[in-house]
């Protein structure tokens, strides 16, 4: 059974996009014509088996984030089928739900609960999270007094304690100083060794080659190339 399977998946958004003002909404209802749609993903198929890791590369606006949000179950495809087996944790953007006026420890609990940790597990992990983040005594200070690097370190520390079957990482490894980056990288390698699935978006070729078995290149919502990370990266960089 594949961990992730996409069969001819398409996802489109209306061009007027997003929530509307009443004025726009009424106009659309009255005119009744088909509003323009924009395909963020078009006819994408791939599968990832258990323990495999997939890298997704492509320029900005190629549809990478849309693909990840489909895997994370945040939205449904307009066409095709998405199948995901296992608990997904998405590091789409770190610090989801962080609030600047809450202290570090309050934010850890809030963030942990939103990411799906139970109260018991969050309390068990608390020391490990604090330790991993290296925030120290600052943990009782409001988040707005933190440097941006500290906020990211704290957020990453919470996120890696979710313990998912599928970990989605969207260019978040550019976090903190080198020592912390190395720590994160080790953690991700451990995760992969445990036989879990990694879905990885990055522009750093060494990282993609090191972490992933398989890779797809998205361009304008379509799969332009797929195969081993080496081949796909060569094609990608050759194309510029």
């Amino acid at each position: 059974m594949p961990v992730i399977e996409f069969q001819n998946v398409s996802k489109c958004f209306s061009r007027t996009g997003g929530s509307k003002l009443l004025r726009v909404f009424l106009k659309e209802q009255l005119q009744k014509r088909n509003h323009e749609v924009f395909y963020a993903l078009k006819d994408v198929s791939f599968r990832v088996e258990k323990g495999e890791s997939l890298a997704i590369i492509g320029s900005n606006g190629a549809g990478k984030s849309t693909l990840l949000s489909l895997v994370a179950g945040l939205t449904l495809p307009n066409e095709g089928r998405v199948e995901v087996n296992g608990k997904v944790a998405a590091l789409l953007e770190l610090g989801t739900g962080f609030h600047p006026d809450l202290t570090g420890s309050e934010n850890v609990m809030l963030n942990a609960s939103i990411l799906g940790l139970s109260r018991k597990r969050a309390e068990e992990c608390y020391d490990a999270i604090l330790d991993f983040s290296g925030i120290g005594d600052f943990i009782q200070q409001p988040l707005r007094t933190y440097s941006s690097g500290m906020v990211m370190r704290l957020a990453f520390a919470v996120a890696i304690h979710v313990d998912p079957d599928i970990l989605i990482i969207d260019e978040v490894l550019a976090v903190g100083d080198q020592a912390f980056q190395a720590k994160c990288f080790d953690r991700i390698c451990e995760f992969k060794k445990a036989g879990k699935t990694l879905l990885f978006v990055s522009h750093v070729p060494e990282m993609v080659k090191h972490l992933c078995d398989y890779s797809i290149w998205l361009e304008h919502g379509q799969v332009k190339a797929s195969g081993t990370p080496g081949d796909v990266l060569d094609a990608y960089s050759g194309n510029g």
Binding site: L21, E93, T96
Partner: protein, 254 residues
């Protein structure tokens, strides 16, 4: 699929709402106490000095019986309506159940409600209106109000994702409602043909029930309680169904 712990998220969101609102203010939670007192003072002045004809006995209790439920209702509905939009960044990234946001916001307002109920009790006892056995109805009528606002907040917060003007519609409705529920006038002054109609508004029904229990010291009429229950539960179910219907499209509309 999200496999977390509903009550853990809910308690964290409620705590966040409460802490964030007061942490940076020098008077802190005291604002919850001052707010209704200021409005009550202004209304009391108007109705003792400007329109003395409308003066009721024990008028501080009379006014608070109207103001406390209305303030809670207006505040909870307003903040509940914008709750989803404000959790935008979370909803874009995590599949945490969306219903939790409007519910948590309404429950967050209940913390202030408790403080304001405390003031209401203090004034009731201070005016020499004692405790009576009908007080056992109080938790029930308040609960119905919370159920009612949760239903409304679920519906309007979901619609607000699709049409952003909803927030302002709700604000205007609240402003209008202030005059259409018996806050600063007695229910007896409402023309006969409308009195029945007013009972179907849970906010008005709650105010009338509170005045019966705390101010007049009599039992709330059974048909009033029945209508309060019926309308509140119906609104909750309707709100939940509207929310469920609309939530699939939230992501695409943000």
């Amino acid at each position: 699929m999200w496999t977390g712990d509903y009550s853990f998220v809910l308690s964290n969101l409620v705590k966040k709402d409460f802490k964030v609102r007061y942490r940076n203010m020098s008077l802190g939670v005291l604002w919850s106490v001052l707010n209704p007192l200021v409005t009550m003072g202004a209304l009391a002045f108007v109705f003792t000095k400007i329109f003395p004809a409308s003066k009721e006995p024990h008028e501080s209790v009379f006014l608070l019986c109207g103001l406390v439920p209305f303030n809670f209702f207006a505040m909870a509905w307003n903040t509940g309506t914008s709750s989803l939009m404000e959790s935008y960044s979370i909803m874009k990234r995590v599949t945490v159940p969306r219903e939790l946001f409007p519910i948590a916001t309404v429950l967050g307002n209940c913390v202030h409600l408790l403080i304001q109920i405390g003031i209401l009790f203090a004034f009731t006892l201070g005016s020499g209106l004692g405790v009576n056995r009908y007080w056992i109805w109080l938790p029930y009528v308040w609960l119905m109000e919370i159920v009612f606002v949760c239903g409304l907040a679920m519906a309007t917060s979901a619609i607000n994702i699709y049409i952003r003007d909803t927030r302002y519609v709700v604000e205007s409705l609240n402003a209008v409602l202030f005059y259409f529920v018996p806050i600063f006038y007695s229910h007896d002054r409402i023309p006969k043909q409308f009195t029945e109609l007013v009972h179907y508004n849970p906010v008005a029904a709650l105010i009338l029930a509170l005045r019966n229990i705390l101010w007049k010291g009599i039992a709330p009429p059974p048909d009033l309680l029945l209508r309060l229950t019926f309308c509140s539960v119906l609104t909750f179910v309707a709100g939940f169904l509207i929310f469920r219907r609309l939530k699939a499209g939230f992501f695409d509309h943000m």
